[in-house]
Symmetry: C2
Subunit: 483 residues, 2 copies
């Protein structure tokens, strides 16, 4: 059992040093590793399997609202960026440039896509002719590069994997409807699949996407009290359509500009999942996205016990796989205790222990990762019980995180109080607010808190003065320190 103890000792306490804990868990659970180029990330098989599960769930949600997948090129001519003034201003500092190819200097530098609005705009201007062609609803699963000075695995890396959706519509109203619809797919993914509660809202002018009319986001609260922007949806109005000449002939024969929308979510969601649910024993995976939902740990002393246990384990694997459970039996030459710790570190939601006594009673010992609750389950009851347990874990994780979010959302009406909460870094601060970029920047400078969003849900709002400026508030806004 010395191995066992050592394994646990190795992890930094979450409350002592959250960011050290975060990095250790990622490395020990073999989710990811840094690449040789600064700020780049290798996503290892266990981390990638998690990403594939998230992809499948989000892709299904996209297809339910008629979005189709496609692929657009990685390399974008410099001139494309220059067509939309705010866009180039926003992205210029983060671009990586290809200047040589095929042994020659290129005439025009090519940017590696940081996002694809420009190259999409170019194609849509050729593809879209008539109102009959609208809406165009396309999504890309790809990699993008944004040169970052300070990087953290999954949260901010120079290259990351994501999806970027791009649609074109007949009017800004249609675009707005789609913008909100896609935001809702993110909310549903975060809350229903990742068990990660979020606040959906609108970004301030200062925080909106470079070139957008309006940006919406979902904001989650990590267990260290910092906020994470976990998905964004942008109504681009006619801005990109005018820059790239995306026009259509309407029913009245008039040529009109389209309104466009883009929306994106990335491998950052994995960072959110880790920081929402993880504890001092390691990761905790919500069953819906867990690469391994149940791990079977066989226990034996004598050789004849081993073979009897093996028969039951094999039976269980077959049975669970047939029921669509992602299951793995761990037959490595380590102690059961070592294995318990390793699978807890990797966040597998359910462990099934199978020893000689279980063989006799034809049952298994089921142990939950989230609350360590144990129960003996007869083998024939497992087909019903296991999906129930997965449901309970999924729900339990969400409720625990929601309770944390509620307990760390502070409504304040006074800037001193605001600064006090922020000094402790804890959570969302909810204030009455009227749009004011100057005030926002001043608050950021003084407290490091940024305006996360103006929540769509404004329940309970009553008129009153805005924090900081005292202007008549137009609604609640959420501030927090953020990743």
């Amino acid at each position: 059992m010395s191995d066992n103890a050592k394994f646990v000792e190795d992890i930094t306490d979450k409350d002592d040093d959250f960011s050290k804990w975060y990095n250790e868990v990622i490395r020990k659970a073999e989710l990811a590793d840094y690449g040789p180029v600064r700020g780049t990330m290798i996503i290892r098989p266990y981390g990638y399997a998690l990403w594939e599960n998230i992809q499948k769930l989000l892709d299904t949600r996209f297809k339910e609202v008629d979005v189709e997948n496609a692929y657009f090129p990685l390399l974008i001519p410099k001139s494309f960026f220059e067509r939309e003034a705010e866009h180039i201003e926003g992205f210029a500092p983060e671009l990586a440039w290809v200047t040589r190819g095929g042994g020659e200097e290129l005439e025009e530098p090519l940017a590696i896509r940081p996002t694809s609005e420009t190259i999409i705009g170019h194609a849509y201007s050729r593809w879209i002719q008539s109102y009959r062609d609208l809406p165009v609803l396309i999504n890309l699963w790809n990699n993008v590069v944004r040169w970052e000075k300070r990087t953290t695995l999954f949260l901010r890396t120079s290259e990351f994997l994501w999806q970027e959706g791009h649609s074109a519509h007949r009017s800004i109203e249609d675009a707005e409807e789609r913008t909100r619809m896609m935001l809702e797919t993110y909310r549903a993914l975060a809350e229903e699949d990742l068990a990660m509660p979020v606040v959906a809202g609108r970004k301030s002018e200062n925080e909106k996407f470079a070139g957008a009319l309006r940006t919406y986001s979902i904001e989650a609260l990590m267990s260290d009290g910092k906020a994470l922007q976990a998905g964004t949806s942008h109504n681009l109005g006619e801005n990109f359509a005018r820059s790239f000449d995306i026009q259509y002939s309407d029913t009245d024969g008039q040529r009109k500009y389209c309104a466009t929308v883009s929306w994106g979510a990335s491998t950052r969601l994995i960072g959110g999942l880790i920081m929402t649910h993880g504890d001092n024993a390691g990761l905790i995976m919500p069953p819906k996205v867990a690469p391994i939902q149940a791990v079977i740990v066989p226990i034996w002393r004598k050789e004849e016990e081993k073979s009897a246990v093996a028969v039951l384990v094999e039976q269980l694997v077959k049975r669970l796989k047939a029921n669509g459970v992602r299951v793995k039996a761990d037959w490595r030459e380590e102690t059961p205790g070592w294995k318990y710790n390793e699978w807890e570190m990797r966040g597998v939601p359910v462990r099934l222990e199978v020893g000689p006594r279980d063989v006799k009673t034809n049952s298994v010992m089921l142990v939950r990762r989230d609350n360590r609750a144990k129960e003996a389950v007869p083998v024939e009851a497992l087909d019903n019980r296991l999906p129930q347990v997965f449901g309970e874990v999924q729900k339990g994780l969400f409720e625990r995180a929601l309770k944390f979010q509620a307990g760390n959302t502070h409504e304040v009406s006074d800037y001193d109080e605001f600064k006090q909460v922020m000094a402790g870094q804890r959570g969302f601060v909810k204030v009455k607010w009227a749009e004011d970029t100057e005030a926002e920047l001043k608050i950021k400078e003084e407290t490091k808190a940024t305006l996360r969003c103006v929540p769509l849900d404004q329940a309970g709002f009553t008129p009153g003065p805005s924090l900081f400026t005292g202007k008549p508030a137009t609604g609640y806004a959420l501030f927090a320190r953020a990743y």
Copy 2:
């Protein structure tokens, strides 16, 4: 019907100008489009859905032989390439270089990956310690850039999508077994899923991968008589392990070099599918990978007919979807004839025509794309009949292509005869052969034919002189002009 006639007139005859036909079909079927940077490709939703289906099938085959997916960074330091001498020599002319990022000149240029052996080697040297860690079996689905002078959609583009598998083993023998195992997954995908017959074989020294010990490929014969390399698998021996110091402690305590393997197949498979099955009406999709397997075309004249037809169509869509058929009903405001032509162009394997008479008899008219065979099928028989038809189409396409391949494989023993066949560009030429790079290059210069492979299946081979050199032949080799 003028639209209808126009649609057909627009396609170039395959026999008149094969490459024009190829490009027109891709554009009209909306599979792909060129990107703004020379040689880059936009894969449109219909083409991407086809790629996703191919991915799913190949990914399943990989998982059956224990391969896991992961992600590695896009950008590779220049110094990595320089560690394996043959590798850099082979890839240097095709590399694209990032020299600026985040507003600054980079100290070391970064290549956009043309393939990931080097960056994988760097990681494996850290991850692999003991024989217990072996084999490592990882696959990446990603994009790569190779600067190409002459490009063709799907066949050769500056950026393309592919998978690259990378494994590490205890010995060159283990590596060889895996190399052949992965080649077999490609053969199975090509023949069983894409209905594209291939010859599996070994590449000559001249044609092998830069840095490999041995390269194997599958070679398909396109309907214009040119060969297409459709997947490759490389036994890299200890070459990359020595360059990147990938060592393990063996059971005897000795430090030993791993042997590594890599294997890849790309969106080029889509080009192969088009050129294997397509005809003068457009694409023909094998049902296993078709984005739409059955299209329903409603037919009506009077309004009251339309509503009755609509009821049956809706019923059919629901029924087929429930059976897992990828089905689409086409209610656009065009003539049935126009729709027949468009869906033939797009290669949908089965068309179901539903008109007022079909409503009365509760049946549909089923029309096959591949041979235009028609049959009336009662609605209640469709659940059984449709999968049968898909199976017949899949088999029919394979057999037709296999017959073409057999009819265009010419065994010759004389170089004059060889040149005659090559003058007509038609097919594979099978000759007795002994490895000889100089002879190979001379033949290429004189006939444009390259040594495609030394087939694994050497049935019927008897000793005799090698073509061109007259040296004692070691086996059959296949030559052809190739894409």
